[in-house]
């Protein structure tokens, strides 16, 4: 990887501006598990493309994308509900395909397009059609599962823009809700599909 000094510094500054302490999971120096970029090891300072922006981030080899997003890039909309690929609360899109961010290593998404709930609305704040539909139908209750469901639906609708309720339910069945008015969640996301077709 080749980087100009200038790009490097800009990236570090940008990362630091979002999460003031950018290395929660690793504080270098005295830490026991301090992993250094020894010759032959994986580069720790990497560039990710998140919500269309290049983000420089210092990521451990074993670090998951969910932890990087939440603790290094300040993107806390991605929720951790189980941390072991059971609940889907951490679903994000990687190259438009839904993935559980708790089970994706940050290093594996270098050069790929990562999209989180924060990146759905337009830069001017205009909601994505699915977000608009969720607001209109008041689709969720406590809403902790919401970002995962919305990202899963966004990804699914790219492959099947005009699903039946049953098809959409299957498409987002990797996501759990414990307030569990799944009926209304489906209604809201079906409305989202309709808005998207009209968009």
């Amino acid at each position: 990887m080749s980087l100009s000094r200038r790009t490097f510094i800009k990236g570090v500054i940008a990362g630091g501006a979002v999460a003031s302490s950018s290395a929660y999971l690793f504080r270098g120096g005295g830490s026991l598990l301090g992993q250094t970029s020894a010759p032959g090891s994986v580069e720790r300072l990497i560039t990710l493309v998140v919500n269309g922006q290049q983000r420089r981030v210092d990521a451990l080899r074993q670090e998951t994308l969910a932890m990087t997003l939440r603790y290094k890039l300040g993107l806390t909309g991605t929720k951790l509900g189980c941390d072991r690929a059971e609940c889907g609360a951490c679903t994000v899109l990687i190259d438009d395909v839904p993935h559980y961010a708790c089970s994706v290593l940050t290093h594996s998404v270098r050069g790929r397009q990562v999209r989180t709930i924060e990146g759905l609305a337009s830069p001017t704040g205009e909601l994505h059609p699915i977000q608009r539909a969720v607001v209109d139908e008041q689709g969720f209750q406590c809403a902790f599962c919401l970002p995962g469901f919305v990202m899963a639906a966004t990804g699914f609708l790219k492959t099947n823009p005009n699903p039946t309720r049953e098809e959409l339910a299957h498409g987002i069945s990797g996501n759990l809700c414990r307030c569990q008015d799944y009926d209304k969640i489906l209604t809201a996301l079906m409305r989202g599909a309709e808005y998207m077709r009209g968009a």
Binding site: R70, G77, K79, E86, C87, I117, L127, C142, Y182
Partner: protein, 813 residues
């Protein structure tokens, strides 16, 4: 006049929720924040002999270790950490380090010497003559002594109770043994009731435990600033949790600033917060740095609370018409390692209410086991009562040849129905209202009961269908809470809300009532919530479906106080008597002369000039000290409405939801598919229709999951919890809901509350639980199961063998 109550609206927090900006406890960051990991007990019951932290403390990055010795004594009540773990998974100590990996590694290097102690995981084993007890000094909670006049009930005493071998004589029959009970009440002539009955049934049912598992675990982050504790935590009840945290940490409530703007679900497990919250608070103090405690899903399965399981035996007498003449109910409740909980009492009261027996006796033993701690879970007790009672009603209807809907309608409560024991006053309690028959009729019509009935029980290929109905009850409202609101010079109404924001929208709904009374457009209402630093009033716990009832009353009272003050202020400045004025269109004006008056903005300014009680400098005597402190802090900002709810109430408020289910059972696999579900609520005036439907459907889904697969599993040999993740506790998924689900409310106002609204969160749970199990019985026979969840192996084994094959009494399987 803006009509707000009964109208849908978009909650003000929804855009934050859909954009990911809504911040839950684990979404906050503070400079220098440390992370903590917990050391959990591997044993179900043990005593800490010694802890060696030398190697861990020597590690770079490790900043502090907190043990139970650092926690205030809570007079035997559960603490965040313990030296005598009483269930596997109970936290013993916590490490704070600069990062989570280091904290986890430090945990590995700590040597804890544990002395194993006797343990028990099954409540009946704890009652055997030579059975182990969950605690060294007892195995059951006794009856709580009556409270002093006006005071709270005293805590239940810890007792040791063992039944005799003879008491267990009935065990072989699969019926619950019934030894000495620790609690008991009765009314009516039980013997005469049974003597006059056409049939008497005696059935035992095991209602399961299950983890609450809100999507957001009880993660929390704490730091100290200028002697004050700032804590970001997840709670159902912001106002009430502040005092609990103060007690757990050992500081005065006014030194706690609790921030909880969004809560990712609770279902009773975060009623007054979580005792584990004390860990980051005290660890932060010890390490002199902010501490984030991320609770994993596995940890949540241990410390995150679970429903009480109950084994119940019901002996019920019926006339030939199906009327219940006598009910003798015995409950063995498993309250886990802590408690005591009163779910068994709620179950007895619920049974007496929805089945209206002419005579009844209720007996119970509230047993401790070394299993994860319980707390009230959405419909705590009434849901289990539905489980214990419904199979008996179903069987009786079959034997008597009565329609399943008809027998429930016949026994259902109406009007100011009586329930529970004879009180010291010589009277029995009654409900404020019950429109159960109306709801049953509405639901039967919507569901098409009579038509569906004709096609059930007939086998088509390997499939057979069945329908079921159940009345789910729950207490639905408390009284006596406070409200604070101010009309400020900017012309807006600010309503302080101490309710937790857990997705029911009651945190905002209460302000709709205030706005409606004041004829204030909703756009000009600011709801202040989620931070005790923002001066919140004394508010009910958001548990037990009490918030909508309790807080609409309080805010009605506060808004009426504001109306009175507006009129007084206008009369003072513009002449005449207060009664000559009315409020509307953001003004207070002379009746018949709208030009003579003042705007709310002007009134807000004028109130500040006048001071005294107009702007909150003089406060009512009867409000809670917390309300008084908050109102004092807000004094001088505008015209203040502040009041305690002193509206009269004749009766105890209960809500009801009727569930109707149709299932299809595959007799070759034992699999059950829910085809259709209809629910109708008798929950008073509807405040927020869309949210109400969501509550009914969501609550029903929790009950449906309990009927079909959701449960806790504990290994009796090693005493460890096996359902330590979602996959093993089996919550409902989006593929488990029926293609068609409908919910509505009869919308009849409760006559004993000014807004007419009752709570709705809990009644649908028992409705879903009972209706689905009844539908299974309708499809494949009323004796196929006597425990929940009714999994496919239970159905299949029973059908294969022509009799029940499942363990009749064992818990946590």
């Amino acid at each position: 006049m803006p009509k707000l109550v009964g109208q849908n609206y978009v909650p003000v927090d929804h855009v934050a929720k859909v954009t990911g900006r809504a911040r839950y406890a684990e979404d906050y960051r503070v400079d220098g924040m440390l992370f903590t990991k917990l050391l959990l007990s591997p044993m179900p019951h043990a005593r800490v002999r010694s802890i060696d932290t030398t190697a861990a403390m020597a590690m770079p990055g490790v900043r502090a270790i907190l043990t139970a010795d650092d926690l205030p004594d809570l007079e035997g009540a559960e603490r965040g950490l313990t030296n005598e773990p009483m269930y596997a998974g109970e936290p013993i100590l916590a490490v704070a380090a600069t990062d989570e990996l280091t904290a986890a590694e430090a945990i590995e290097r700590i040597v804890v010497d544990l002395e194993p102690l006797p343990f028990v995981t099954d409540p009946l084993e704890a009652l055997r003559p030579d059975g182990p007890s969950a605690r060294l000094n007892g195995n059951a909670w006794g009856a709580p002594p009556p409270g002093g006049p006006g005071g709270p009930a005293a805590p239940a005493p810890l007792e040791t109770i063992k039944w005799t071998a003879e008491d267990f004589g009935d065990e072989e029959s699969g019926r619950l043994p019934m030894g000495k009970a620790l609690e008991e009440w009765a009314f009516g002539d039980l013997d005469a009731g049974f003597a006059s009955a056409a049939i008497v049934l005696d059935e035992t049912f095991v209602a399961q435990s299950s983890g609450h598992h809100p999507m957001e675990t009880r993660s929390a982050m704490a730091y100290w600033q200028n002697g004050k504790l700032f804590i970001h935590a997840s709670t159902q009840s912001v106002a009430q949790t502040r005092g609990n945290i103060a007690r757990w940490v050992g500081i005065p409530p006014e030194d706690v600033i609790l921030i909880s703007e969004y809560t990712g679900g609770g279902f009773g497990s975060k009623g007054g917060g979580a005792v584990s919250t004390s860990i980051p608070c005290l660890l932060s103090k010890k390490a002199n740095a902010p501490v984030m405690m991320r609770i994993t899903r596995e940890e949540e399965s241990y410390i995150g609370r679970a429903r009480t399981n109950m084994t119940g035996r019901a002996k019920v007498g019926f006339t030939k018409e199906g009327r219940i003449t006598a009910l003798d109910l015995f409950i063995v409740q498993d309250t886990g390692a802590y408690g005591p909980l009163g779910d068994h009492r709620s179950a007895g009261l619920a049974a007496s209410l929805i089945y209206q027996p002419a005579a009844m006796r209720w007996r119970a033993v509230n047993v401790l086991t070394n299993t994860p701690p319980r707390s009230q879970q959405r419909s705590p007790g009434p849901m289990q009562a539905n489980g214990i009672m419904e199979p008996v009603i179903t069987k009786a209807a079959r034997q008597l040849g009565i329609d399943q809907l008809e027998i429930r309608r016949l026994n259902s409560p109406e009007g100011k129905a009586l329930f529970g024991p004879v009180l010291p006053t010589g009277q029995r309690n009654h409900v404020t209202s019950a429109f159960v028959k109306e709801a049953l009729d509405r639901g039967a019509e919507r569901f098409g009961w009579d038509e569906r009935k004709t096609r059930t029980g007939k086998r088509q290929g390997s499939k057979v269908r069945g329908i079921g109905v159940t009345v789910g009850p729950h207490g639905a409202g408390s009284i006596g809470w406070d409200s604070i609101m101010t009309i400020r010079p900017d012309g807006k109404l600010y309503v302080q809300s101490g309710v937790g924001n857990l997705g029911t929208h009651s945190v905002l709904d209460l302000a709709r009532v205030a706005a409606e009374v004041l004829d204030m457009p909703w756009e000009k209402v600011e709801v202040v919530w989620g931070n005790t630093g923002n001066h919140l009033p004394w508010t009910c716990l958001s548990v037990g479906s009490q918030t909508t009832h309790g807080m609409t009353r309080a805010n009605h009272a506060g808004a009426m106080d504001a109306v009175r003050k507006l009129k007084e202020l206008a009369a003072r400045d513009l002449g005449g008597a207060p009664d000559d004025y009315e409020v509307g269109g953001e003004r207070v004006f002379r009746r018949g002369n709208p030009g003579r008056g003042m705007s709310f903005a002007q009134a807000g300014r004028r109130a500040i000039e006048l001071g005294g009680r107009f702007d909150g400098h003089d406060l009512p005597e009867d409000i809670n000290p917390m309300t008084k402190a908050s109102a004092t802090a807000l004094a001088g900002l505008g015209l203040m409405g502040v009041a305690k709810d002193t509206y009269p109430r004749d009766g105890i408020t209960y809500g009801f939801v009727i569930g109707f289910a149709e299932v299809e059972v595959d007799v070759e696999t034992g699999g059950v598919t829910l085809i259709d579900f209809v629910a109708v609520g008798d929950v008073g005036t509807v405040v927020n229709p869309r949210s109400l439907v969501a509550q009914i459907k969501g609550g029903a889904c929790l009950g449906i999951a309990h009927a079909l697969f959701q449960k806790s599993v504990v290994d009796p040999r090693y005493g460890v919890s096996l359902s330590d993740r979602f996959h093993y506790s089996k919550p409902l998924s989006i593929l488990d809901i029926p293609a068609s689900m409908h919910a509505e409310a009869v919308g009849l106002a409760d006559p004993e509350t000014p807004v007419g609204a009752k709570g709705v969160g809990e009644p649908p749970v028992g409705a879903g639980y009972g209706a689905v199990m009844n539908a299974i019985s309708d499809a494949v026979g009323e004796d196929v199961f006597r425990r929940a969840p009714v999994t496919s192996d239970i159905v299949l084994m029973s059908l294969e063998n022509g009799r029940r094959m499942h363990a009749p009494l064992q818990a946590h399987v």
